[in-house]
Amino acid sequence: MSKSERPNQLFRNLNAKVASIPMVLTALVIFVGGSAWTVLYSFTNSKLLPRLNFVGLDQYYRLWSTPRWLISIENLLVYGVLSLVFSLVIGFMLAALLDQKIRFEDTFRTIFLYPFALSFIVTGLVWQWLLNPEFGIQGVVRGLGWESFNFDPLYNSSIVIYGITIAALWQGTGLIMCLMLAGLRGIDEDIWKAARVDGIPMWKTYLFIIIPMMRPVFVTALVIIAAGIVKVYDLVVAQTSGGPGIASEVPAKYVYDYMFFAQNLGQGFAASTMMLLSVLIVIVPWAYLEFGGRKRV
């Protein structure tokens, strides 16, 4: 009888492997290769053009003694925590409200979700305009006679990052709401009934039963929000350009500015390496747990 040995494994599922070439290339060349390249050049003193003039950790020393970088990090933390918390909270609450079998659900959902279709550039411009102290909200309220009203987050160094967060939330919560809504809809109707029979008040049901059950949705939402947080750039550029002063600078902008405006690639690479590093520290273990080697159910 014919062959009984295992045929060459390389050629099994050949089509699948061929079809995955773009993914493999992207993963290896762009993501791994690109990152490695960036890391490598962060140890050089490349200026306008990448050059392999190694200077050790100089770029990093400089990075961590630059006030703007420190402010950027601080801003990112504030922005990150705020948008994470509020996106989840607002997104969930809106979803919970919409889940009450209300009328005009579609309309409300559309309203909450439409900003998601707009770019950060657009969002930034609109909110810059709305938060403009002269003719924005502050101006209008003052015009109504409340002269002492003060609301100028974009022009006040100490709260500018909150102004940016407001715009970011406006743009992003809709999607989170959508995810949460999908999650809520996926919850077994019987759980609600059981809780009602048990006499558990609505808010406790949400807090102690529903939310813990929605872990996967929260994880997805978290991933989406977090991926956006690290990358926040356009919004800041459109809204404040990092100002007033450098009060609303963020790391991504630092990278961009130093790579291109300052023509100091080495510095920019060092900053991006730091960003990459922090992303990896948080993400890799999680991604591995979540997607790696998981059994197909």
Partner: protein, 311 residues
Amino acid sequence: MSDHAVSLPAGTGSIGLEASGPRGPKPRHVFSRRNIFLYGTLIVVALYYLLPLYVMVVTSLKGMPEIRLGNIFSPPLEITFEPWVKAWSSACTGLNCDGLSRGFWNSVRITVPSVILSIAIASVNGYALANWRFKGADTFFVILIVGAFIPYQVMIYPIVIILREIGLYGSLSGLVIVHSIFGMPILTLLFRNYFSSMPEELFRAARVDGAGFWGIYFRIMLPMSLPIFVVAIIIQVTGIWNDFLFGVVYTRPDTYPMTVQLNNIVNSVQGVKEYNVNMAATILTGLVPLVVYFISGKLFVRGIAAGAVKG
């Protein structure tokens, strides 16, 4: 809760159960506390979400003198479409005074192939990952997912070099490739989750029927994945149309997408800022994703439920 129950003397037969107690549906007032709270909150929040759009529209319909007068929330006294016309066809950047119109077509030329290519690649990836798991596939997938978090800035330079090496820098195809690359992680995740949630037996049946990798993909999987394709299309159209960074880095001025032109127009201040033109330009730029989204909003929610939630 209401305490309507009338306690009965023991021994009353069922025939005698009082005929006067509550009957029929529990009365519900349209203006119950719950409804007021529910709809009140929703309406207030909806106003918050609508405010910027309102301001944009209103402002874009005003003339500059009226804007300078102040209140951004007041409706236009005199509606003028001039800012729209100007934003579309005659706002200037440098010497080019053809407004957004050129950028619009550039954006279309960028968005359409990018969306198609990125979705094509990602859906095949997701399909391969979900149904044809080969050794090592998971590792690449994890890299891809981690890649979703890498700040674009890290990649900009290496990609410039790569594109230069393959001679695609500055061309539309180069930008299309860049969009496909950066759309890949999230889309692949979506498609993988969606295809995994489809019954595996369907896939097996098709294999027994003799369909191969592509046969199953095109004839079985594709026709069943409308919701997730809608999600992918919305995400990609929105993302690519709205992209600024790649558009500005990887194209040349005559192929600038609309967002870059928007930025140019908004930042090319000639004397005073023409807020009405800026707003009109802003709305025009956002119009395409908005329309796409409004048309397919329902499918979007459904697709999200199918592809994203079971992470």
